[in-house]
Amino acid sequence: MSELRESLGLELEEVGPRRYVARVDAGRVVEVARKMLEATGGGAYLANITAVDWPDRGVIELAYNFWVYGGYLVSVRVEVPRDAAEVDSITPVYPGALAHELEVHDLMGVRFRGNEMIWEPAFKPEDMKGVYPLRKR
C-alpha cells in the first residue's frame, strides 16, 4: 500500500475500510491510470467511472474507481467544466474502459478524446442523439 502511495505521488485520503480517495487534475488521468496498472504489477482494474453533475459549482466530477486485487479501492476524482466537458480517454492503458466511457458519454455528455470506438446513441433511443438525460435540470 505504501509503495503504491509513493509511486503514484498522490494524496490518498482514507474514507472508510478499504476505500481511498485521490483528487487529480484532468490532464493527469492517463498517467495515473498507467501508474495504477504498472505499480501494482498488473493487479488493478477499473471498476467503473461515475459521473456526477454539480450545476451550482459548474463542473462535472468523474470518479474513476480502481480496485487493487486483494486490497482496496482507490477512487480518483477529476473535475471538468460543464460547458466544455472533455477529458483524455484511458483506453490505451485499459481497453476495458470502453464500456464505462461509452455510458458516461451517452448519458452525461462528456467527450473522451482519443476513443474512436464510442458510438452514440448507445443506450438511448435513436432520436435522442445530443440529449443527455442524466444532467440536472
Partner: protein, 387 residues
C-alpha cells in the same frame, strides 16, 4: 477473395434470452470484428432513483434485474447503511448471506441450462430446470416470492426463519448437491460438450485484467478475484469458502467455474444454518433520512462484481445513484473473445459471459398510470431537456 459479410445475431434470436444485437463481420466462417448494439432494454433507473425517496429507491433498485434482484437490494442497502452509520445485527447479516447464496445457486443453474440449450442439448436443459424448481420453491418459502424477493430493509431483513424452514432448506440442498455433482460429471465427460466448448473464445489472464472483466468470466481465465473474499461484506468474513478459478480461459472453464461455485454456495449455506446467531433480525423501525455523504458498496452478484455509488446531500431524495452491473463490463468489453472464432461458436461465447441485458441497461419508457390512464412519457420529457 475475401468479402466481409455482416451477420446480425439478435435482437430477437433463439440463442439469446434478452434483446441485444451483435453485428458479426465475417470472412468466410471466421469472425473478423464484432460491433454490439445495445439499448433495447434501457429503463432509466438511475434517473428514476434520483426523483424518488430512498425507501422507494430500495424497491426500484430491487427490480433492475429479475435473476439477481436480491444482490442489487443488498448492495443498495449496504451503501445506505454506510452513509447512515447503522449497524446491522448479526442474525440479519447471516440471513442476508443465506438469501444471496440461494440467488447464486439458482442463477448459475439457469446459465448452465441455457448453455446446454444453446448447444442444442435440450434434454440436459430440461433436467437442470427440473432441479432448479426446488431452489425457486426455497426462495418462495424464505422471502415470499420466487423472483423479486424484497427481503431487505435498512438495518436488517423483513422476515425471520424458524427451524422448520432451516430443516427443509438443508434437505433440499442435499438433493441438489447430488444432482449438481452429476451435471459436473456430464460437463467433464460428454464428448459433444467438450468439442463445442473447449478452446472456444479464449481470453488470457493479462487480457482479462486490461479489459476489466469481472466475475466467473475473469475467474475462468485464472484471475483470482472475488468480492466475498477480498472485500468481505455482511457475514462473509466469518465463513470459510474457496475462490474457484480455472486457468484456461475458454468457454468450458467459465462454465466449470460456475458449476463449482454452486457446490461452494451449498457449503456456505450449510455453515450459515449451523452458525446462525440468536437475536433480533427484523428491525422495529428504520431511519428514512440520510445525512450528507457518499458511499461505494461492492458485492458479488452471480455474474460478477456489482458496484453502487450513492451520493446524498441531506435531502429526502438521493443526489446520484450509480449502478455498475457486471454484465455491462463483461458483455461490451468481452468482444475480445471473438477473435478468430467461427460463426457457430458465437452463441457459445455469448452464453458463457452470462449476459443479463436487463442488468446492463437501465433506461425507460415511463408509463404514467396516474388517473388510471396510460400515456407514454418520452425520455426527452423525463430528462427535462431544454434546447
Amino acid at each position: 477473395m475475401s468479402h466481409v459479410v455482416e451477420i446480425p445475431v439478435g435482437p430477437q434470436h433463439p440463442a439469446l434470452h434478452e434483446p441485444i444485437l451483435f453485428r458479426l463481420l465475417v470472412e468466410g466462417e471466421r469472425i473478423v470484428r464484432v460491433v454490439p448494439s445495445i439499448g433495447y432494454n434501457h429503463r432509466g433507473i438511475e434517473k428514476l432513483a434520483e426523483t424518488n425517496t430512498f425507501v422507494k429507491g430500495l424497491y426500484i433498485c430491487g427490480r433492475v434485474c429479475g435473476i439477481c434482484n436480491i444482490v442489487h437490494a443488498t448492495t443498495y442497502t449496504m451503501a445506505i447503511e454506510r452513509i447512515q452509520g447503522v449497524e446491522v445485527p448479526p442474525r440479519a447479516r447471516y440471513l442476508r448471506v443465506l438469501v444471496n447464496e440461494l440467488e447464486r445457486i439458482h442463477s448459475h443453474m439457469l446459465i448452465v441450462a441455457v448453455m446446454a440449450e444453446v448447444l442444442g442439448f435440450e434434454s440436459l436443459f430440461m433436467l437442470i430446470m427440473r432441479d432448479r424448481e426446488a431452489v425457486m420453491q426455497l426462495k418462495e418459502l424464505v422471502t415470499g416470492n420466487r423472483v423479486l424477493g424484497d427481503y431487505l430493509i435498512f438495518g436488517g431483513v423483513r422476515r425471520d426463519i424458524d427451524d422448520a424452514v432451516a430443516h427443509r432448506i438443508l434437505r433440499t440442498l442435499d438433493h441438489i448437491e447430488e444432482r449438481v455433482r452429476y451435471y459436473r460429471r456430464v460437463f467433464e465427460e460428454d464428448v459433444t460438450i467438450n468439442k463445442r466448448l473447449r478452446g472456444v473464445g479464449p481470453i488470457s489472464r493479462a487480457e482479462a485484467v486490461r479489459y476489466c472483466l469481472v466475475g466467473p468470466t475473469a475467474r475462468g481465465s485464472g484471475v483470482e478475484t472475488d468480492v466475498r473474499a477480498e472485500d468481505p461484506y455482511e457475514a462473509y468474513g466469518e465463513l470459510e469458502f474457496n475462490v474457484v478459478t480455472y486457468p484456461d480461459g475458454d468457454s468450458w472453464s467459465r462454465m466449470m467455474v460456475r458449476i463449482d461455485e454452486i457446490l461452494e454456495s451449498i457449503e456456505i449455506i450449510r455453515q450459515v444454518l449451523k452458525r446462525l446467531p440468536q437475536g433480533q433480525a427484523v428491525p422495529k423501525t428504520f431511519k428514512r433520512a440520510l445525512p450528507k455523504g457518499e458511499a461505494i458498496a461492492r458485492a458479488e452478484a452471480p455474474r460478477g462484481e456489482l458496484v453502487y455509488h450513492v451520493i446524498s446531500d441531506g435531502k429526502p431524495t438521493p443526489y446520484r445513484v450509480k449502478i455498475r452491473t457486471p454484465s455491462m463490463a463483461n458483455v461490451i468489453n468481452g468482444i475480445v473473445a471473438f477473435k478468430d472464432a467461427y460463426i457457430a461458436d458465437a452463441p457459445a461465447i455469448i452464453a458463457s459471459f452470462d449476459p443479463c441485458i436487463s442488468c446492463m441497461e437501465r433506461v425507460v419508457e415511463v408509463v404514467d398510470l396516474d388517473k388510471r390512464k396510460s400515456t407514454v412519457v418520452s425520455l426527452r420529457e423525463l430528462a427535462g431537456w431544454r434546447g
